[in-house]
């Protein structure tokens, strides 16, 4: 059976079939390629997601590790900071303890040196060698001064040196005091008011009427080329205390007392003590002292003119200058010291019980050597403080350049009352104001 369609139609049909087959093949290949790409893309995506998962896992574990490391780091830093703080604190304490130990070592050395000197002086006193005892004390004076806190508060001589009186002669300062280690009247000397050396006993022998070991409150008046020592002595056989005088050709003594009886005494007033000479602007000498006030009489400070030689009293009698009328005085005034400065008379005195921490120094203002005197303040000008207790027995003197100083004795803290030491203090004095001002020492 022959195809009777036109040839072109057959060709067209064949071409269409061929085209359709080619199209199908192309479409099939394209589809396969698309699927291949899709699979590849999904494979890449899966790989990337796997990578992301791995990375996130690593990130999580690393974050945990970093968190732990950070905690460890912070803990370590905190521990180190704490350790350093503990270290610094311990270091500071160690420095303090080391310093304390060092100063303790110095204190121990000073104490041992001081104790050695005092023991030596004790042995010398037992052998009745007061002069050597004084030398022993002088030798350890700096160490003993250190033990008592140094001289920043004016401590000058760290041994028993009560009722001091200071006299300057030719650039040398002589200090006299109540009987103690160095003898009846102790005497020490200095060139700078800081370092003091014992001379010994200024009054080696007492008059026969005086009781041994009861001589105190000395004061010296340079007059007519000689030196007159006024001091308190007790009459023999328990009699009253009276004032005597001794003479020497040089300030360090020895002073000789040839008296057959007291220089001045007020038996009816309980006796007389604490003599202190005063020279007025016109050169007239006076003596001020205290009556002890027994028998219902008040303690009183008196004044009377001396003869030109200073060895006798003149006039009709003594003039009372002061009695206790202030509460701080505790019913007692004593240890007078009259001072003339810039036309003003100052009467320094001590009040209250000498054997206590209540002892103190006051001042009165006087119109002249025989008074009258008034108290410008109801309070003392020098009282117990942190460094010393019960100051008293003051005396005022002038240094080489005209500066005013005040010497006084005082107990050390924790060591108040006989037979503890009454150490010597020397401090600058200012009389420019209405009331005297005792400047800091050292």
């Amino acid at each position: 059976m022959a195809d009777r369609r036109p040839r072109w139609r057959r060709r067209l049909g064949q071409l269409a079939i061929l085209g359709a087959a080619v199209s199908l093949v192309i479409a099939l290949v394209t589809d396969l390629q698309a699927h291949a790409r899709d699979r590849q893309a999904h494979a890449v995506l899966a790989s990337a997601e796997a990578t992301l998962g791995t990375t996130r896992t690593k990130l999580t574990s690393t974050s945990r590790a970093q968190h732990r490391a950070n905690e460890d780091r912070l803990a370590l830093l905190s521990a180190d900071a704490y350790t350093r703080a503990v270290w610094a604190d311990a270091d500071q304490k160690l420095a303090g303890a080391t310093q304390a130990a060092f100063f303790q070592g110095l204190d121990i050395g000073s104490l041992q040196t001081c104790l050695g000197g005092v023991k030596g002086a004790l042995a010398q006193i037992a052998n009745h060698n007061n002069t050597q005892a004084g030398m022993d004390l002088s030798g350890v004076s700096p160490s003993c001064e250190t033990v008592d806190g140094g001289n920043t508060d004016g401590l000058a001589y760290p041994f028993d040196f009560p009722d001091p009186f200071v006299l300057m002669v030719g650039g040398t300062y002589f200090a006299y005091a109540t009987n103690s280690v160095e003898g009846n009247i102790q005497i020490i000397q200095s060139s700078d008011l800081t370092h003091w050396t014992a001379i010994g006993n200024a009054l080696p022998n007492l008059p026969s009427w005086a009781t041994p070991n009861h001589t105190w409150a000395p004061a010296v008046l340079p007059v007519g080329g000689q030196y007159v020592l006024y001091y308190t002595a007790q009459l023999a056989k328990g009699g009253p205390q009276c004032i005597s005088a001794a003479v020497a050709s040089q300030p360090q003594g020895p002073f000789i007392d040839t008296s057959a009886g007291p220089f001045a005494c007020q038996p009816t007033l309980g006796g007389s003590i604490d003599p202190s000479p005063f020279v007025n602007a016109d050169g007239t000498p006076y003596l001020v002292w205290k009556s002890t006030g027994e028998g219902g009489q008040p303690t009183t400070i008196w004044s009377q003119q001396l003869d030109p030689a200073g060895t006798g009293l003149v006039g009709s009698g003594a003039t009372p200058l002061l009695i206790p009328d202030q509460s701080w005085e505790g019913g007692n005034v004593e240890a007078p010291d009259l001072v003339l400065n810039a036309g003003r008379y100052f009467l320094f005195y001590s009040g209250n019980d000498w054997n206590s921490a209540h002892y103190a120094v006051g001042v009165a203002s006087c119109s002249g050597p025989l008074g009258p005197c008034t108290k410008p303040s109801a309070q003392p000008i020098l009282t117990s403080g942190a460094d010393f207790l019960g100051p008293g027995g003051a005396s005022v003197f002038t240094d080489q350049s005209g500066g005013l100083w005040i010497a006084f004795h005082a107990w050390s803290p924790g060591a108040v009352g006989y037979p503890h030491n009454r150490d010597l203090y020397v401090r600058p004095l200012n009389l420019a104001g209405a009331l005297p001002v005792i400047e800091p020492g050292g």
Binding site: A34, H42, Q66, R73, W87, I108, V181, N213, P419
Partner: protein
């Protein structure tokens, strides 16, 4: 031969005898062609649709891949930062740990020295107290003896005999 016999008849009778047979025969290729067209068209349609779907999925996979890569980059960045911090922390730990150990040793040494110094201070304080007590008593005895007060001197010395003996024994 049959054809040649019949041919004139067909020619004569013409349309009555040959026309229906020729028409049926003429439809067959058309139907075949139509079926072919439908088949090819359907196949092409399916394939094109399938390809489009595949392409779409590929595009989505690419988009997701890009997002994932972005996430990977962020994660890697974070990881890098954290690793750097970890290394820094570890370095700090490596430095601080020995320093802490050294500081601790120093503290122990200082504390030991402090304890020793404090013990020394206490001991020296005791020595000082003994020396002061002894000195105070000897001073008082000295003062009492210097004014002939022998009883007082003996009393004061007796009162400090113990601290003086301890001081003497302590060297």
């Amino acid at each position: 031969m049959v054809f040649s016999v019949l041919e004139p008849q067909r020619d004569r009778t013409g349309p009555v005898l040959t026309k229906p047979t020729a028409t049926r025969r003429a439809w067959i290729p058309g139907l075949v062609l139509l079926g072919l067209i439908v088949l090819v068209g359907g196949g092409l349609g399916y394939l094109v649709g399938n390809e489009r779907q595949a392409n779409t999925q590929t595009d989505q996979a690419h988009a997701t891949w890009h997002t994932t890569r972005h996430h990977i980059a962020i994660a890697v960045g974070d990881l890098t930062v954290i690793r750097r911090e970890l290394r820094a922390d570890n370095r700090t730990i490596q430095v601080v740990a020995p320093a802490l150990a050294q500081d601790t040793a120093q503290v122990k040494a200082v504390q030991a020295a402090l304890a020793q110094a404090q013990a020394s201070v206490v001991q020296q304080g005791t020595t000082i107290a003994g020396l002061q007590a002894c000195l105070g008593g000897v001073e008082q005895a000295l003062n009492a003896l210097s004014v002939g007060d022998l009883d007082q001197a003996v009393s004061r010395l007796s009162a400090v005999a113990t601290p003086c003996q301890q001081v003497a024994a302590g060297g």
